[in-house]
């Protein structure tokens, strides 16, 4: 079995196979490859950094348990499977929180600015962080049904048919919500004059 040196190009399927055979490095690769997308999906739903961290851990604990006890279904794709677990756990949490009286945290705003990013650098990195935090904040403030479709389609990769089935609406309604989410996002970005400088984001 392969040891510590695993190529970056290795597929998720192969990594899962290695992990099933006891190779922890395979699992580490999977986690590091997909952690940002999974964490972002959770964060955009629960809107709280610390809750998102807890849910991310719960998601991967479930992954570990499934794989190590032979319950993982190899016919499916790893990332969509994990993203759906993450989505469901985040929604469950979100529902529980919504049932409770609203609690306003004193440092609510600072959370957005204190998040960690995949890459660290100096001044340009700070500008990028500020813009990205703003966009993230705009997504968080979208109407629930629009944010839900945007997360399901763009970050989780569900088709509009799957979203329609899951949310109990027609495909056209799901598409319309996505369209409005993008329109609202665009409107807010323009209103706040937020633009991505091509020096930071080359095409």
């Amino acid at each position: 079995m392969e040891n510590n040196i695993i190529s970056n190009n290795i597929s998720d399927v192969r990594l899962i196979l290695l992990y099933k055979h006891g190779n922890e490095e395979g699992f580490s690769k999977l986690v590091n490859r997909h952690k940002a997308r999974i964490y972002t999906v959770i964060y955009l739903i629960v809107k709280d950094k610390f809750v998102a961290e807890d849910i991310l851990q719960e998601v991967f604990m479930k992954v570990v348990t499934h794989v190590k006890t032979g319950k993982y279904d190899e016919r499916g794709k790893f990332l969509p499977w994990v993203l759906r677990i993450a989505h469901n756990m985040a929604i469950d949490h979100f529902r529980k929180v919504k049932r409770r009286p609203e609690v306003v945290f004193e440092d609510g705003n600072s959370v957005i600015n204190s998040l960690n990013f995949s890459e660290d650098d100096a001044e340009t990195e700070q500008i990028r962080k500020d813009i990205n935090a703003r966009v993230r904040d705009l997504i968080k403030r979208l109407p629930d049904n629009q944010r839900q479709v945007l997360i399901m389609r763009h970050y989780i990769g569900m088709s509009f048919q799957e979203i329609a089935d899951k949310t109990g609406v027609s495909i056209n309604t799901a598409l319309g919500r996505m369209r409005y989410a993008l329109i609202n996002l665009r409107k807010e970005l323009t209103k706040h004059k937020i633009a991505y400088d091509k020096n930071f984001y080359p095409e």
Partner: protein, 79 residues
């Protein structure tokens, strides 16, 4: 009349949810209609924002996940 597409159709094209015929027609119009091409390009730049906001969780969280895996006791799960 110059053929064009709606925002919903742009979304379906972007996410690869059109039929082959629809997709071929979309690409044809994209090639032949500069106005529509600009509109689609504008639409794309908005969508690209969504990919730039990924967050990385703190290292301690990842360490905790990897530790959980390393010390996972399979026997306790098989009840």
């Amino acid at each position: 009349m110059i053929k064009t597409f709606t925002r919903n159709e742009m979304i379906r094209f972007f996410y690869n949810e059109m039929t082959d015929d629809e997709s071929t027609e979309f690409k044809r119009v994209l090639n032949e209609n500069p106005g529509f091409r600009n509109e689609y390009s504008d639409f794309l730049s908005n969508l690209k924002n969504l990919d730039k906001i990924m967050l990385a969780p703190p290292k301690r969280v990842i360490k905790s996940i990897l530790d959980f895996s390393k010390h996972f006791d399979q026997s306790k799960e098989r009840v």
